[in-house]
Symmetry: C2
Subunit: 369 residues, 2 copies
């Protein structure tokens, strides 16, 4: 509504604006309500999972400057549930209210090349990479990085979309053509043992809190399960959290971030930890926190962007989170009947293939182990 | 919407109707959304804590038959957050949809005399009591039950309202006049050691699940804290849960119930367990389940009334729930900064004395003890 001192906490009764109406917006909205905050959703859809649990909703495009301005002026802080918020959208909103995480964090995470340059600039290991604007760039990059390698669009990729695996140099032209001339990046192969992720929060005063590291298993490029704790030496887990802090400090980040790490085999030269990518938002691999921690990643994000003290990230139970993709959701009743399993459904009505319809978390009580 | 087979589960996407817009309705609505259910609030207020987190809200009185009928026809089941739903309201709703818990459970709990007669009919001990319609009734009851005793209206009492303590027989007339001729009941003094409560659920198929027993401390007739587990011999706790089951079976109850017990000193004749009263709804003394159990009392109530399998009532942590009454809520920031404490604020804007503004739960991890 008005410009706030960015270090001052927003009191209960303030309004959090959220861009995007999906399940992440829905769970953020519920967390905000728990803290006595009001929620205003901005999304292009007339109805949405997030709007259904929120006080107000505006239906508007991300290009509609007048609508965005009215939205920004009606809320005390704006956050978002997806990283592909157009830069111009963020700029318009930031003229009128706090935008957290900042437009800079958005911009860096939106472009795979900028992201990797930013990380390596902080001394953080990534997969080897090279920018690809032309077929000649691609052929040179393949000569340098070898095969297999993955050609990815610099922007707008998620869940395996916008990427092509290249097994032989001879496939370069077909791969290049498949991306239809979009600016791209070639990523060299990383012989990783496993993927883990760190969910962490940073407050406006620079304070930092990270949850325990989770181990991710993907199927068809979509997260299938996250298991906590990850089977990982404690020192590596600590280092992953410290690298996350370095990244967040480097971006002067405010909010929750999701950072995916590849764990390289012991004996590899250099760090065994390599950042795959990060998302400037709450993250699917952090959903387990809703059931195994007192303060979930969603509440933590709301606390951070509202300048509240960060909550404890302590874990009271071990946990396995399983995504319900497409028709997986039809098993809701058997999940609900399983002891120590928490069911989360997103209120979506059409279980299309690949669509995230819900998730379930099984917790393991400490005394049971 | 349509009449369902009462034993068939309502699928995700169904709509739960809730009478009442306060904090209990709000927390029920959030629990329903977690399960992918839609929520429609019916309340006399234009805006309310529950409507703010729900898909739909109807503003109407509990006497408006047309409005109640339209509401009932737009939902798949109706429940309520308060026990003083007028009997005629429940009857109208039940003509058009499922009402759970049933109008019978409502009726019995609304009248202290009916409630005590029902309990004693099941062989459950209560405080000694006698109906009081006239001053002569009161004088005879005092002669029988002795002093101190408490004169209570049969209907519409809560949080200490509608009751007068009588320390001497000579105060009978003043007490009788204070209740202004409302039908009343005299309750004899019970020399109880402590008050505990059982939060339990019963499903349409008769299955039953009870949470661990909590110990309640009141201040100024309003619940101040609930501590779990109660300091109570395990056999007594088991008996309290069994008595709750007897009560629920007797009412063919569907949903969550809150039952308050007085614990009498060891050595008293008869059972050491005496039921003070029960509420046919989620209960303030069950709020701790949100933070110390995987399935909260709110989710459990939604599961029960929707015919879902009941969730596990296992407790992963010990807990102390503290109500934030009136200006207590101003300490929100220091509660939020305290580790292992979960903050719940209800979105109410005016912290009037005695008003429940929120609660906080401190959990104690098992390994910390």
């Amino acid at each position: 509504m008005t410009q706030h001192n960015p270090l001052e906490a927003l009191a209960p009764g303030s309004t959090v604006g959220i861009l995007g109406g999906g399940q992440l917006g829905r769970m953020l909205a519920q967390a905000a309500a728990k803290l006595g905050l009001r929620v205003h959703i901005y999304a292009p859809e007339e109805t949405s999972p997030a709007a259904e649990v929120s006080d107000k909703a505006t239906c508007g495009t991300y290009e509609d400057a007048a609508s965005l301005t009215a939205f920004a002026e009606s809320v005390d802080v704006v956050t978002y549930e997806f990283e592909n918020v157009p830069g111009e959208t963020a700029r318009i909103l930031a003229e009128h209210t706090l935008v957290r995480p900042s437009p800079k964090a958005l911009a860096v995470s939106q472009d795979r090349l900028d992201e990797k340059n930013f990380l390596t600039g902080l001394g953080i290991r990534t997969a080897p990479f090279a920018p690809v604007d032309t077929l000649q760039d691609l052929e040179e990059a393949l000569a340098k990085l070898g095969t297999p390698a993955i050609l990815k669009t610099r922007r707008f990729g998620y869940d395996g979309k916008g990427q092509v695996k290249i097994d032989r140099s001879a496939d370069a032209k077909a791969a290049f053509d498949a991306l239809k001339g979009a600016p791209a990046i070639l990523e060299g192969f990383v012989p990783f043992e496993k993927e883990v992720s760190v969910i962490a929060a940073r407050a406006p005063d620079g304070s930092f809190a990270a949850y325990d590291v989770g181990e991710n298993d993907h199927r068809h490029h979509i997260l299938h399960t996250t298991t906590v704790p990850a089977a990982l030496p404690a020192a590596l887990a600590d280092t992953a959290r410290e690298m996350t802090r370095t990244l967040m400090d480097g971006l002067d980040y405010v909010g929750v971030i999701g950072v995916e790490f590849f764990i390289l085999p012991d004996g590899e030269t250099g760090s065994r930890l390599c950042i795959n990518e990060f998302a400037p938002r709450v993250h699917n691999s952090g959903h387990w926190t809703m059931d195994a921690c007192l303060v979930s990643q969603f509440e933590q994000h709301i606390r951070a962007i509202c300048g509240w003290p960060l909550g404890s990230t302590k874990r009271h139970s071990d946990a396995v989170m399983l995504n319900l993709i497409g028709t997986d959701v039809e098993a809701w009743s058997s999940h609900a009947a399983t002891p120590d399993r928490s069911v989360h459904l997103y209120g979506k009505h059409d279980p299309r293939p690949g669509r995230k319809m819900g998730h379930v978390t099984t917790i393991y009580h400490r005394q049971d182990r």
